[in-house]
């Protein structure tokens, strides 16, 4: 007989169990299916933004990525729910990420684990107050997602740039890895 506290927790257990056998972020984000999903979303996001500037494109790409994550991870929820995103969509540009990155580079020098964890917190969106363990978990998911994003965007950029200039190799080597 399952007593009532168990049944109430079994609801949460049900949630947990669904996520239990989930693959690690390395394998979860690297499937071709995920890339397809993200590619589709990215494409429609690009069409929606329609040349609002590179920052809008980036925001769209990040939103698409977060959407593909389905709100399962903290960083994706932070991206999707951030009012910053809304403001960006309204054509306001600003680059908090860049500022954060500068500060991140500066802060890297000082401190060991704590300092670096602080830097990582700033890098991964939505993880400002997480503990170290959860932060690392989110970072793993975020890294995998970013890898997929780069791959998809690169493919899309190549396809887009190659197609109009079908005959000529318009941008053969201008793409460089950063």
């Amino acid at each position: 007989m399952i007593p009532s506290p168990a049944s109430s927790s079994s609801g949460s257990r049900k949630k947990r169990m669904k996520r239990g056998p989930k693959a690690r972020p390395g394998t979860k984000w690297r499937t071709a299916a995920q890339e397809r999903v993200y590619g589709r979303r990215l494409l429609e996001a690009l069409r929606a933004t329609a040349a609002l500037g590179p920052r809008a494109v980036k925001e769209a790409a990040d939103s698409a990525l977060a959407f593909t994550a389905r709100g399962r991870s903290r960083w994706s929820r932070a991206i999707l729910l951030s009012p910053r995103r809304k403001a960006r969509l309204l054509l306001r540009t600003g680059s908090k990420i860049r500022r954060g990155r500068r500060r991140a580079r500066a802060a890297e020098a000082g401190g060991r684990l704590r300092g670096r964890l602080r830097v990582l917190r700033r890098l991964v969106p939505g993880c400002r107050k997480l503990s170290a363990g959860s932060l690392l978990e989110e970072a793993a998911d975020y890294v995998a997602a970013l890898e997929m994003q780069v791959k998809a965007m690169r493919a899309l950029a190549d396809a887009l740039s190659a197609a109009p200039a079908a005959a000529a190799a318009a941008e053969p080597g201008s793409r460089g890895g950063v």
Partner: protein, 478 residues
């Protein structure tokens, strides 16, 4: 049971979607295959067929038996175990169940409890859940999915092995400890004496010391990451009446549980046991500290696999440096590529895009039904492409629908693209209303392109709005 099933219908996708989902049962197997692996998908389909046979033999008792053979199959599967369980008909009535059953290709005590808890069997006795296990064993899921079991990465070490169940509820404990601890890949605490436990309780809880040790570390691990199984296991055990009260406490206060040990001599599973290593401090603080540190090091290992070039690096600080550098470089790449896409963007138009999607799919998905990828593909696709493009879209849409068969709960007919979309946007939340508007434009295009995508967006936004509601089965999330 009908009332029970009706309020669980969002989660269990009982009747209305069954026909539709059954139609995809064949594709479903292949979709499952995309999750697990090509060869194990065959096993899955074989297992599903076996379930079908089993279902046909058994006189139907649940009310969804009338839908189709496959529904009979899955219903009969469970019913085979215990015909008296009328509420079991809620359980397997979704493709998600089949997939989950395929994933959890083995059961032991934990899954046992998971099973009961997962499907929320109210008032189901242990014999009934035991019967489920027996029936599943009989249906041959084990042989069907032993390979898939190996291939599915189980992050938390939830490896469920289907023992020849019998009445072996107590057996599940031992089986629980051995395979799970063996296959967990987690750090196992050295089987040293547990000073804490011995000091705290005079009970013979160390009677099966090895078993308890492994289970404890397993439990501890599992508790630290996801609290799952302890409840179920205690549901399983037939003799632990006194544990019921202890269990509910233990699930809430794990710290206290670590210290005091008022469990009976049953190998305790429902609260965290941390074995103190030999020669180390045993007070609760240091134990908690150690647990936390091990959790962190486990996550660092995970990151180490993910970030290239970190295998040689030892030490958390340097690794964190590498990780930070890598994340920054990835973000820089994204920015650079977005700038590039922005310059290319004005050249988009729909025809171009249609061809481009085809190319992109080809690039991304590797070998695709129609043609091999070649550098000249761009030229070819620009001109010859419409049938190819359609094929690709069809294949994608098929996969999309397979993914989201279970999302049908959101729109009962399954294809109300715009309506469901609008309704979902209404439920999106005012904070993200702008975002929803943003997506709506894109989604208008998607409606023309693929159906499955719409469902997935609808479902995902719905899911997102409601948090992680168990209703939306994100099968993509492996």
């Amino acid at each position: 049971m009908n009332s029970g099933s009706s309020d669980r219908s969002p989660k269990c996708f009982l009747n209305q979607n069954w026909d539709r989902s059954v139609d995809h049962i064949g594709q479903f197997g292949s979709a499952l295959g995309s999750f697990v692996s090509p060869q194990s998908s065959f096993e899955l389909e074989r297992g599903l067929q076996r379930i079908g046979h089993l279902g046909k033999e058994i006189p139907p008792q649940s009310h969804f038996m009338d839908s189709s053979g496959n529904s009979q199959a899955l219903g009969g599967l469970v019913i085979a175990g215990n015909l008296a369980l009328a509420h079991l008909d809620q359980l397997p009535a979704d493709p998600g169940f089949a997939e989950r059953a395929a994933r959890f290709s083995s059961f032991d005590g934990q899954s046992y409890g998971w099973f009961s808890g997962h499907f929320e069997l109210p008032g189901s006795g242990k014999p009934s859940t035991a019967a489920i296990i027996q029936s599943l064993t009989a249906s041959g899921l084990q042989t069907g999915h032993s390979e898939s079991n190996r291939q599915i990465p189980v992050s938390n070490g939830l490896q469920l092995k289907m023992n020849s169940a019998g009445p072996a509820i107590s057996r599940e404990e031992t089986s629980l400890s051995d395979p799970t601890s063996a296959s967990n890949g987690k750090k196992r605490k050295a089987p040293s004496k547990s000073k804490e436990k011995d000091a705290a309780s005079p009970k013979p809880s160390t009677d099966p010391p090895k078993v308890a040790d492994e289970e404890d570390s397993d439990t501890k691990r599992r508790r630290s990451s996801e609290k799952i199984h302890e409840i179920g296991i205690d549901n399983v055990k037939p003799k632990l009446e006194q544990n019921d009260g202890a269990r509910s406490n233990g699930n809430d206060e794990q710290k206290q549980r670590k210290e005091r040990n008022d469990r009976p001599s049953e190998p305790p599973k429902d609260y965290i046991h941390v074995r103190a290593r030999r020669g180390q401090a045993t007070d609760s603080h240091s134990l908690a500290e150690r647990v936390r540190r091990e959790k962190i090091s486990q996550r660092m290992k995970l990151l180490q696999d993910l970030v290239p070039g970190c295998s040689k690096v030892t030490g958390k600080a340097v690794m964190l440096d590498e990780i930070i550098n890598y994340v920054q470089s990835l973000q820089r790449q994204v920015e650079f590529l977005s700038m590039k896409l922005a310059t290319v963007n004005p050249q988009l138009d729909f025809d171009n895009l249609a061809n481009l999607r085809a190319e992109d799919m080809i690039q991304i998905c590797g070998p695709v039904p129609n043609s091999a990828y070649s550098p000249e593909m761009s030229m070819v696709s620009s001109y010859a492409d419409v049938p190819q493009h359609k094929d690709i879209l069809r294949c994608i849409a098929t996969n999309g629908m397979d993914f989201h068969c279970s999302m049908n709960m959101l729109d009962s007919t399954g294809h109300q693209d715009l309506n469901a979309h609008q309704a979902c946007l209404g439920g999106f939340g005012d904070t993200s209303s702008q975002l929803g508007f943003f997506w709506e434009d894109g989604l208008q295009n998607i409606v023309q392109m693929g159906i499955g995508q719409d469902q997935e967006i609808v479902a995902s936004s719905h899911n997102f709005h409601g948090g992680t509601s168990p209703a939306a089965q994100m099968k993509i999330e492996l």
